[in-house]
């Protein structure tokens, strides 16, 4: 039977993940774009790992690390009452890690491509690093920010393996739309699977289309 709850849950997850990712990715991308520390290649690699790693591997390790039977999972549960497996919070954490490169890479590329003289000009005008970042650098990489936000959002909607591993399939709690599709196919309810699938297809299509239209300048003539 078609239900709205997996769809709503999917968008809740994508929204929360994207917002938190943006907060994390701006400082991380800034550091990656400008640092010359020796550890940088290692951090860059770690950020990019979700691009190549099977989602099940990531999900498996998260499951092991955050299991209440093990050290960290136990500590989190006892100290903060936070249970990260088979819970929405766990899904958010897994999604943040899984979509990290989709947010970090566009922002990092945008910052690296800005001429160094913009930063230097702000510094010699007496502006701090923070003022320079928020008043000069970020406003000049808006297309990259939009790309990062939308890719992270759309990619979170498209998650399956990681979610299944760490979240399981609990209706209303961790059963997102992509898992609902799998579930319905297993139960041979092809109509319902099709309804979920079509919905996901249409939504992600229009999200991506919007990015390409905006960043390609096709909508500009309607704004001015």
């Amino acid at each position: 039977m078609f239900e709205w709850s997996p769809i709503i849950l999917t968008f809740e997850l994508a929204l929360v993940t994207t917002l938190l990712l943006l907060l994390i990715s701006i400082p991380l991308a800034y550091w990656l774009a400008y640092s010359d520390k020796k550890i940088k290649p290692v951090i860059e690699t770690l950020v990019s790992m979700p691009l190549v790693l099977p989602p099940t591997v990531l999900g498996f390790y998260l499951l092991v690390v955050f299991s209440p039977n093990n050290g960290l999972g136990k500590l989190l549960l006892e100290a903060f009452g936070l249970r990260l497996i088979f819970s929405f919070e766990g899904l958010v954490l897994a999604s943040i890690i899984y979509s990290l490169p989709f947010m970090v890479h566009p922002i990092q590329a945008g910052l690296s491509n800005l001429p160094a003289s913009l930063t230097e000009a702000a510094y010699v005008l007496g502006k701090s690093k923070r003022t320079t970042l928020f008043k000069v650098l970020l406003p000049n990489i808006k297309p990259n920010l939009l790309t990062g936000i939308v890719l992270a959002f759309a990619h979170t909607i498209g998650e399956f393996g990681v979610v299944l591993m760490i979240g399981g399939n609990i209706p209303g709690k961790t059963k997102v739309a992509s898992i609902a599709v799998y579930d319905e196919v297993e139960a041979l309810n092809y109509d319902v699977a099709n309804a979920y699938s079509l919905f996901l297809f249409a939504v992600t299509f229009f999200i991506l289309l919007t990015v390409y239209l905006v960043n390609g300048g096709y909508l500009k003539r309607y704004w001015r």
Binding site: P115, S117, E120, A121, Y123, V124, G126, K127, K135, V136
Partner: protein, 284 residues
């Protein structure tokens, strides 16, 4: 008084080069760093601004120490009172001309300076435009106005005119001279244009491979040697060499002059023009 001594190994195309320069610059003067590209001119400006760290030496501006290797003092660029006009102008693309200039204001600084600069540098009609809609000369004027907002103790100009056409360049030289005098600035200009150096500067440091080769008033150092008797000195580039004659581009005119051995097309010359009594005629 601006006193500095700077030392640094720079990576250059033809291997490492040691930059080693010291200078005493009187307050209120316009000093040019003159030399071929790669001689270390821009690096000196960047070290004065705090954008590049010297390996050794010191920078003392009006009795304040900005940098001293021995005492481990290195003021951040934010704390040095400098105006810097970059070669690419470095205007912020997201801001209008006016916003670019306003961005330079310090906290609690009086806003009056903004209107004053916009008026002085004649940016009134352009103030609400974004930098990408401006010509090179207009961008350069905006960058100049922005650099003056904080009333710098030292104005640094990194080949600000190199991307401009001949006429525009002459006009902007006048703007720079005007603000230099009006705001009683101490200015260091980087240039490899002899004409510009002669027109603008009180004092020249000629750099070759990171060291000062000659220094002095421009009219003196460029007229040393054989051509002391010449009354007029022109800067030009050789565009063509034939049997007995070379064609030299002076300003935007082509002039034929006698050939001299050892010169090649593209070389830059100072031409001393001798004027005899027969050349002088009263016309009014």
């Amino acid at each position: 008084m601006i006193v500095f001594s700077l030392n640094k190994i720079l990576e250059a195309v033809g291997g490492d080069m040691e930059l080693h320069i010291s200078a005493n610059i009187e307050k209120g003067k316009l000093v040019t760093l003159y030399g071929e590209s790669g001689a270390g001119k821009t690096s000196i400006l960047r070290m004065l601004a705090g954008l590049m760290a010297p390996e050794n030496g010191f920078i003392k501006i009006n009795n304040k120490i900005w940098f001293d290797h021995k005492k481990n003092i290195d003021l951040k660029p934010q704390l040095r009172k400098i105006g810097f006009v970059f070669q690419d102008y470095a205007l912020f693309p997201n801001m209008t001309v006016r916003q670019n200039i306003e961005f330079a204001l310090d906290k609690n600084q009086d806003h009056d300076i903004i209107n004053e600069l916009i008026e002085t540098i004649e940016l009134g009609d352009l103030q609400h435009r974004k930098p990408d809609t401006l010509s090179g000369g207009q961008q350069q004027r905006t960058a100049l106005a922005r650099a003056l907002v904080r009333q710098p103790e030292l104005l640094l100009l990194d080949e600000p005119l190199s991307a401009l056409g001949h006429d525009m360049r002459a006009k902007l030289q006048d703007y720079i001279l005007m603000v230099h005098r009006q705001y009683k600035l101490t200015t260091i200009l980087v240039s490899h244009e002899l004409g510009e150096v002669l027109k603008m500067s009180d004092y020249v440091l000629e750099l070759v491979n990171g060291r000062v080769q000659r220094e002095g008033a421009p009219a003196e150092i460029f007229t040393e040697g054989n051509n002391k008797k010449s009354a007029l000195h022109l800067a030009g580039d050789i565009v063509k060499i034939e049997d007995g004659e070379m064609t030299v581009l002076i300003g935007n005119r082509l002039v034929g002059v006698p050939r001299k051995n050892g010169l090649r097309v593209g070389d830059r010359l100072v031409l001393g023009v001798g004027i005899t009594g027969n050349d002088i005629r009263k016309i009014g």
